[in-house]
């Protein structure tokens, strides 16, 4: 009996169940949320959050977290807008490069110097935000002329938002990378047992560096989507993005202790967070009530995680007795 329960409440079930319940709830209460046009709209909006959540997942699997992603995305967005204005369309490469650079700094500070992830990424959070404000002169940096990123923000391929396709491609790529490549397996090894990984020859510093670089890069790509949508770089972009990304990762079934987590379920987690925000918006809920809901969802996801662990332990004990 218990074994069936355990299978039913496996951590991978959380995100799909949450997503279905939300869809069901809004279909009963709010008009228009389930319209195809609105769902496609949500699909377009979810891309930046989804990308950042995927990057966050890699870091979380190593047992760390990256709270700098929102600020890094803002800095990368400002960098992109400034360089597009200066060098033309080729300037868009600056966004991912800035994100990657910030991620590498985080990775070196955490991986090589063994600084706690929260201190390292906290430092990056304020440095990147400060730089974004200084570079932009605390103003919106509007792109002059045609926005080369317009298609990324608003383009449709067979009625599907291009941003969503990019997100899906990145998620598939990351899933293969984490499952099939050496570096991907090392990420899980480091997260589930760092000492064991070290003893079997894994370079901890390099693996951690890879994880934070991936997170920084994903924030840089998300910045391109922000610029694509806004047609400008906003120094205040991405405030609270790290919070939503971590929520998506946890709802997606990753363990904050490290070692566990799958990209496709994190993707569902991100869609759930985005749909929740969109639905509450359409129902006319104030942003403050949405914060209460998001906070409750985070803690509820944690409680669910506790119950899953509880059931799993009980099942194991029962199996051992049998």
């Amino acid at each position: 009996m218990n074994r069936h329960v355990a299978r039913l409440v496996s951590r991978n079930a959380v995100a799909p169940v949450c997503l279905v319940l939300t869809l069901l709830y809004f279909s009963l209460t709010t008009q228009g949320v389930l319209d195809a046009s609105n769902l496609l709209n949500v699909g377009g909006q979810v891309a930046p959050l989804g990308l950042v959540a995927l990057g966050q997942l890699v870091v979380v699997v190593t047992g760390g977290f990256d709270i700098s992603v929102g600020s890094v995305a803002a800095l990368a967005a400002i960098g992109t807008a400034l360089s597009v204005n200066a060098f033309g369309p080729a300037g868009v490469v600056v966004g991912p490069l800035v994100g990657l650079a910030c991620g590498l700094v985080n990775g070196i500070v955490v991986g090589r110097f063994n600084i706690q992830p929260i201190v390292a990424t906290l430092g990056m959070l304020s440095v990147a935000r400060g730089l974004a404000l200084i570079l932009s002169g605390q103003r919106v940096v509007t792109i002059k002329g045609a926005n080369p990123l317009n298609f990324l923000g608003y383009g449709l391929v067979a009625r599907i938002p291009f941003g969503l396709l990019v997100l899906l491609a990145v998620a598939a790529l990351l899933a293969v990378l984490l499952r099939r490549t050496h570096i991907g397996r090392r990420v899980y090894m480091v997260g589930s047992n760092a000492e064991g990984a070290r003893l079997s020859g894994v370079d901890l510093g390099r693996t951690v560096l890879f994880a934070y670089a991936a997170s920084g890069l994903s924030a840089g790509i998300a910045a391109l989507l922000f610029v694509g949508r806004a047609g400008a770089g906003l120094p205040t972009e991405g405030a609270g993005l790290e919070l939503q990304a971590i929520a998506a990762v946890v709802v997606g079934g990753a363990a904050l202790a490290g070692g566990i987590g799958r990209p496709l379920f994190v993707l569902l987690g991100a869609m759930f967070i985005q749909l929740l925000g969109n639905g509450l918006n359409m129902a006319g809920t104030s942003p403050f009530d949405q914060q209460i809901v998001l906070g409750t969802v985070l803690i509820a996801a944690g409680l669910l995680d506790f119950m899953i662990r509880h059931v799993a332990t009980a099942t194991r004990a029962q199996r051992r007795r049998a």
């Binding site: 600084i115 906290l122 440095v127 914060q291 209460i292 944690g302």
Partner: protein, 340 residues
């Protein structure tokens, strides 16, 4: 290793070398500020700094207790916002009563944090992140998103701008808090259990310590410090606002890290927290006196935090064999086992 360090502790030069790195950072900072910033040593300025530093100190004491048991509290910024809103909304009951209710609400938030972390074994990072968001929403709903002014009164502004003799009230409260923290860490049974629960929860449990209770009480005591800080802040801005001090948890964590507290838990001391608080507050004050933009201040404070923590890590890099962090390893592998 032990022999080396005992001989190293002999003699004044050696003893100086053994001071926590934060002390050097502080010393350099004070000299730089005294030389390069004209009005820094002004008595008015120092009194102002003491009022600001006192608030950060109280919040950091609370953070230190929670960090000591291996936790972290990101929610304090929203908690002080909620406290200020509750105080101002309850002013009809009298200033003292309103402030007591506000502080009690803060302690209640700490109890929820503690319950979720200790009883349900949830990651503190996740719990307090949820509370950060949820409580900010709650206090915004309570005031409809706009700050509520408090009618001016002497009693209301006393906690922030009053004086006892020549001493500013916040400073007196911070010193009392320091004594309470130092004494409870060193001389109370509860304080000692925090060290054990933070450095090795399994061993602590095996030794008969009620770890859950100890961790829960750490969050509760931490919330008491935050409650006092929240009252001073409320009194200073003379209003109830959800956006009272969103960066407070980060400043407090930075202060603890700069002071040399390991964020993995198991070690803390009141004096090291104060060193970290002084570094953060003096650096902020210096940058303000130099008229640097708030954006530039962000960059400098962020860089300073990481640099100060890096300065402490350096000696450990020299060691040829890295000692395995036993607690962390145990925690990680047991979490994995449980979740399989």
């Amino acid at each position: 290793m032990t022999d080396l360090s005992t001989t190293a502790a002999r003699g004044l030069p050696r003893r100086l070398l053994n001071l926590p790195a934060g002390v050097y950072v502080l010393a350099v900072l004070v000299v730089v500020l005294a030389v390069f910033v004209p009005r820094f040593l002004d008595p008015t300025n120092l009194s102002n700094v003491s009022r600001t530093a006192a608030i950060l100190a109280l919040a950091s004491y609370g953070q230190a207790v929670i960090i000591l048991v291996g936790g972290i509290d990101l929610s304090v910024g929203s908690v002080v916002g909620l406290i200020s809103v509750v105080v101002v909304l309850n002013l009809g009951l009298g200033t003292a009563a309103a402030m007591a209710i506000g502080a009690a609400v803060g302690v209640g938030a700490g109890a929820v944090n503690g319950l979720l972390v200790a009883r349900f074994k949830m990651p503190p990072f996740l719990v307090t992140l949820g509370m950060l968001t949820g409580l900010h929403g709650l206090s915004s709903v309570l005031v409809g998103g706009i700050p509520v002014e408090a009618p001016p009164s002497g009693a209301f502004s006393w906690p922030s701008s009053g004086s006892i003799g020549p001493l500013p009230v916040p400073l007196v409260l911070a010193v009392l808090g320091f004594a309470a923290l130092a004494l409870s860490l060193r001389f109370t049974v509860l304080g000692r259990t925090w060290f054990l629960a933070g450095s090795n929860p399994r061993a602590a449990a095996a030794a008969g310590i009620r770890v859950r209770r100890s961790v829960f009480l750490a969050y509760l005591v931490g919330a008491v410090f935050v409650g006092v800080a929240g009252i001073i802040l409320t009194s200073r801005v003379h209003s109830g606002q959800p956006e009272l001090f969103p960066d407070l948890p980060f400043a407090a964590i930075a202060a603890c890290a700069i002071g040399g507290l390991p964020l993995t838990g198991g070690d803390a001391s009141a004096s090291r927290v104060v060193v970290g608080v002084l570094v953060v507050s003096l650096a902020e004050n210096g940058l303000q006196l130099l008229d640097l933009s708030s954006a530039a201040q962000l960059v400098v404070i962020g860089g300073l935090t990481v640099a100060a923590v890096l300065a402490q890590q350096r000696p450990r890099l020299v060691r040829t064999t890295r000692p395995a962090p036993a607690v962390e390893r145990d925690g990680a592998s047991s979490a994995l086992e449980e979740s399989r």
